[in-house]
Symmetry: C2
Subunit: 245 residues, 2 copies
């Protein structure tokens, strides 16, 4: 019953099925729900202490996103990401965000430029903090600061590009993959973190100079670099999981 209360609290001011979809997706991404396993609607319903109705909608929504393969009257099969999936996803985003950077260089407004500068300064602050001698990222403060700055940078870029469909496409793409894995891939190396901060600043400078072509090239390169890091890390994780099995 307390479980039910939790759920209700979590879903305040939003559809329950949305919450369920998000939560089930999260569990798949974290490996809590195994790739390749079947999802039973009534099992999930019992798990979350809700009826099958919202579960059905959540499952259907995840099917639409390509997270689950829905087979009529059989069930839903969990589709797993491969390293190749991750790379392909980032390659598409590299194109889209490159385009966004080009548009932003032409159209950005002063308030957005200010937000972009603030995010870039934050990256530098995070690099400095990580470089400090006693820099053990206790309770993930650096991670949350980095994630926040990154979100703001990319969200502002898309806003400045002023193309709603472009923003929607990027959102769709990002939704297909685990979030917040970029920092985990970066944090291992001070060098990568520094490069990342420099990437962001370079993009900002190209935009400030209204050099659309350069902004596009840099943003594209930035995403492809992230693709390398995240894909490699994911391959290592897969290897670890395979050995543990």
């Amino acid at each position: 019953m307390s479980r039910t209360q939790d759920v209700l609290a979590a879903t305040s001011e939003g559809a329950l099925s949305e919450y369920l979809a998000e939560e089930i997706h999260r569990r798949i991404l974290t490996g809590d729900i195994r790739v390749g396993s079947w999802l039973r609607q009534d099992t999930l319903a019992a798990e979350f202490n809700v009826s099958r109705t919202p579960v059905r909608e959540a499952v259907r929504a995840l099917g639409g996103r390509g997270v689950l393969e829905i087979i009529p009257r059989r069930g839903a099969l969990v589709i797993g990401s491969t390293p190749r999936d991750i790379r392909e996803n980032y390659e598409v985003r590299a194109e889209l965000e490159g385009f966004a950077a080009e548009l932003a260089a032409e159209r950005i407004q002063t308030a957005q430029l200010t937000a972009l500068r603030a995010a870039v300064d934050d990256f530098d602050g995070i690099v400095a903090a990580a470089a400090a001698p006693d820099a053990a990222d206790r309770d993930g403060e650096l991670e949350s600061r980095w994630t926040d700055a990154n979100e703001r940078f990319h969200a502002t870029l898309l806003e400045a590009a002023d193309n709603a469909h472009l923003a929607a496409s990027v959102r769709e793409s990002r939704r297909r993959l685990p979030h917040n894995t970029t920092f985990a891939a970066l944090s291992g190396s001070q060098r990568q973190l520094t490069i990342n901060a420099a990437d962001h600043r370079a993009i900002l400078e190209a935009i400030e100079a209204s050099d659309g072509e350069k902004a596009r090239r840099l943003a594209r390169q930035h995403l492809l670099r992230a693709a390398d890091l995240v894909t490699r890390r994911f391959e290592r994780e897969l290897e670890v999981q395979r050995r543990a099995r």
Copy 2:
């Protein structure tokens, strides 16, 4: 009751809610359901002679696609496309399909190249048929031939690009807009039809020459040209509707 039979027949081997979502979307795109109007779930259910359950899922799915704005306990509002929406959508697709063309130039396989050549030849045949003196496109035969060739060309291009996420992004983007409007925009002018066929052939030739950069540029240009035509036509249609009101 016969209505129910029709629906069941149409949805054979597929979820009813999928069919409903598709049909409701179609009615919105054709103007059968007015932009800005409210959709009531039980009204739709009565309309289609089904219960509210599949209607709910269909409405939710359309909400997820951005076709409807869902307001809890109020209803679903039909969001209309603006000329700007159409242009933005095509601009995104120009980037994505440009990228696809570049990848295809590097990776295409012989069977796919054959399919691409066949589609391009078909375009030439259609142009020739349209140029014939008595070329009144009775029962839309030319339109269906053109649409078919176009589908095959772009589908083959995406297949040759060999990036599942790219294909998914393009599919998502295309779903956001009315389909089959491109031919309607083209068919008015023999000149545009000729240009369109030439565009496709030029893209094919760049791919045959493994010139990725050129293929990208041409594909991008091709889509942007289509964007112009479709947007202009859409603006004219809006004008007509406004006058008729």
